[in-house]
Each structure stands twice: as C-alpha cells, then as structure tokens.
C-alpha cells in the first residue's frame, strides 16, 4: 500500500464542494479520505463521499464531495491510499 496527498482544499462554513481527479488506472484499488489542516476540537469538521466514473477501458476519474460541518472555513488535505 502507498499513500499520498492529491490536493489541498478550502471549504467555506457549511458548504459542500466537489473535486475530481482523473487519469487513475482503473485496476488500482484506491480509497479517498480527507484530513482537516486546522484544529478545531469538540466536533467533526468534515464529511465526504466518493463517486467514480469509468473514463475508458483502463482509466477512471474519482469525484470527491466534501462537506464542511462547521460554522468556519476549513482547510484540508485530500488524501488517497492505493491498496493494490
């Protein structure tokens, strides 16, 4: 397994935003998650879900939708792990 940071994002208070990242080999098993960069203890800050598009026979595009659950802007890392 290997991991990485695909992008750094900022999301306004209470907002939902979507990012996409293309050209991933479809044979890879990839999981996506986010990590807030700014500490704000006491409650969850971000929620996310992942959707995927098969662009062609060998490649796919991931669409990651991130929701800011707080009343303040949140900066975060969009992270991936290639499992196999």
């Amino acid at each position: 397994m290997w991991t990485g940071v695909q992008w750094q994002g900022t999301i306004p208070a209470g907002a939902t935003k979507r990012w996409f990242t293309w050209g991933w080999p479809a044979v890879w098993h990839v999981v996506w998650y986010v990590m807030p960069s700014s500490a704000q203890p006491g409650a969850p800050q971000l929620d996310w879900d992942v959707a995927v598009e098969r662009a062609n026979g060998t490649q796919c595009t991931y669409w990651i939708t991130v929701t800011n659950l707080t009343g303040q802007q949140v900066t975060f890392e969009g992270r991936f792990a290639v499992l196999s």
């Binding site: 098993h29 990839v30 959707a51 995927v52 098969r54 662009a55 062609n56 499992l83």
Partner: protein, 274 residues
C-alpha cells in the same frame, strides 16, 4: 509518412479514445468503439480525421480473412459466440522504436493502447489473413475487400452515416436485455473482486457478502466497468452486521448516479488479517 515517437503515438491513441461513446447514450460526435461487431471503416476514417487535424499523418491497414477476434464488449465474447469479421480496418502510424521504425495500429475497439501491427493481426485469429496498407484518404478499400470500387469520403458524409448507424446499434444493445458492455460471461474475476453487478438507470441496490472474519480489517470499493466519460457514475456505502463471535456480513449499497445502465465490480481489500 514521417515516424513519430511512442509518446506521440500514445497521445494520438488517447485523442481518439477520448471520443468513446457512452453505450446507452452515444451522442455525436462520439465513436462507438464499444460496438465491435461492425462499422470499423467509419471509426477508422473518423480517427484519421482527428489525427490529421492534430497534425499527424496516419495511414490505414486493412485485413481480410476468417477473423475471429475476442472482445468482452460483445455478448458472444468470441468465436463461436461471435463469428467475427471477414475484414477489418484501423489507422496506422509509423513509430520510432528501439527496433527501428515500426507500423503501429490505433484500434481502441481491440486494444487499450497503440499496438504493433503483428500483434494486431495475431489477435484476429487467422494466421492466413492478408494485410493491405492504404492512404488515410481511402474510406472503403473495395478492391481489397470484395472486388468493388474503392471509395473516398473527403467531407465525411459516409463516415457520419456509418457512425450514426453503429451508435444506434450500440444504444439498442445497451438498453436491451444484454445491457451495456462489458459482458460478464466474457470476463474472469480478478483477485480482490468479490462480485460483478449491474444497475438500472438511477437504481440503488444492496448486495451482501457473509462469512468474513470479524477480526479482519476490510475496505470495500466499487469500480464501474461500463465506460462513460464526463460525469460521476456510481457511489456506494457499506454497512456491517456481526453474524457471530468470529464472523460478519457486509452489506454494500451501490447507487447509479446516471440515467443509463451501468455494470461494475465490487472490490475488497483486507488491510489486516488480525
């Protein structure tokens, strides 16, 4: 025809393959690569048009014989479920390789990338098949195929007719009982794939899989198998049931976000066995 680099050949392949049709919604100007049954001469002429517009100088290679290709994009998979072709055509490029200048074929209906001409011929299942090169301007090499006159199509009128016909055939198949490609009967399940599934337009459906070690750390992901570039196709969520002291059952709900049928594979990865 001046040779191009392998990188440029891949770029030109990608240029053509980016025009792939969504099977159940194949709108012009897409190219119906996922309908391998017929229409190669229209696809080839359109690919040449795209490559020429991008500054390349493709040619074409024609093949005639008892051709028996296999494709997971045909419900019959290959011979005898699918009888194949009497002839076929695809664009070619001269490519600089470590073994000198070679003829490579651009044929997304058969290969996921540019391929050398010998390999292209070999997968068509007839060692006695005959090859004939032509310029890109030849739309239909009748003199080679069946003794008819050769045809050109400089303003792409006939090309567009062929593409329209086979876009429609692709759509009819994809919204019919066979569903969109690929066809599971033609595929073997790779490692890490628990199941192949199909979803109707905008459908959500739940699958369960039981007997997993409760101590194992397992992640589930979904990968669409039906190509349709341009938008999200599927999303999913995972729930789990503790069946007994040592085992659990995963319940995976997959949602088709599109208005078209989608096939997919359900994948698992065990992050830890303890």
């Amino acid at each position: 025809m001046p040779p191009v680099s392998q990188q440029r050949a891949q770029q030109l392949f990608d240029l053509c393959n980016a025009r792939l049709c969504c099977p159940a919604n194949p709108n012009a100007p897409c190219i119906p690569f996922l309908y391998p049954d017929d229409g190669c001469w229209g696809r080839a002429h359109e690919m040449c048009r795209l490559m020429i517009a991008d500054g390349a100088q493709p040619e074409k290679v024609w093949i005639r014989g008892g051709l028996r290709p296999s494709s997971q994009n045909h419900p019959g998979c290959g011979y005898p479920g699918w009888f194949g072709w009497g002839w076929h055509v695809a664009p070619t490029l001269q490519v600089n390789t470590s073994n000198g200048v070679k003829t490579w074929v651009i044929d997304p209906a058969l290969f996921p990338g540019p391929t050398d001409q010998a390999t292209w011929k070999s997968v068509q299942g007839d060692p006695a098949a005959v090859l004939q090169a032509s310029s890109a301007a030849i739309f239909y090499l009748g003199s080679f195929i069946n003794g008819f006159p050769d045809q050109t199509d400089p303003i792409y009128t006939e090309t567009n007719k062929v593409l329209t016909k086979y876009r429609n055939e692709l759509k009819l198949r994809s919204v019919g009982p066979d569903g969109p490609p690929p066809y599971f009967a033609c595929m073997t399940k790779p490692g890490g794939v628990q199941w192949f599934g199909s979803l109707n337009p905008n459908q959500s459906k739940t699958w369960f899989t039981w007997g997993w070690g409760a101590a194992w750390k397992v992640l589930w992901t979904i990968m669409p198998l039906t190509p349709c570039p341009g938008a999200r196709q599927v999303t999913w969520n995972v729930r789990v049931e503790r069946a007994n002291a040592t085992q659990c059952t995963y319940w995976i709900t997959v949602t088709n976000l599109t208005g078209e049928p989608v096939k997919f594979e359900g994948r698992y990865d065990v992050l830890s066995w303890t």
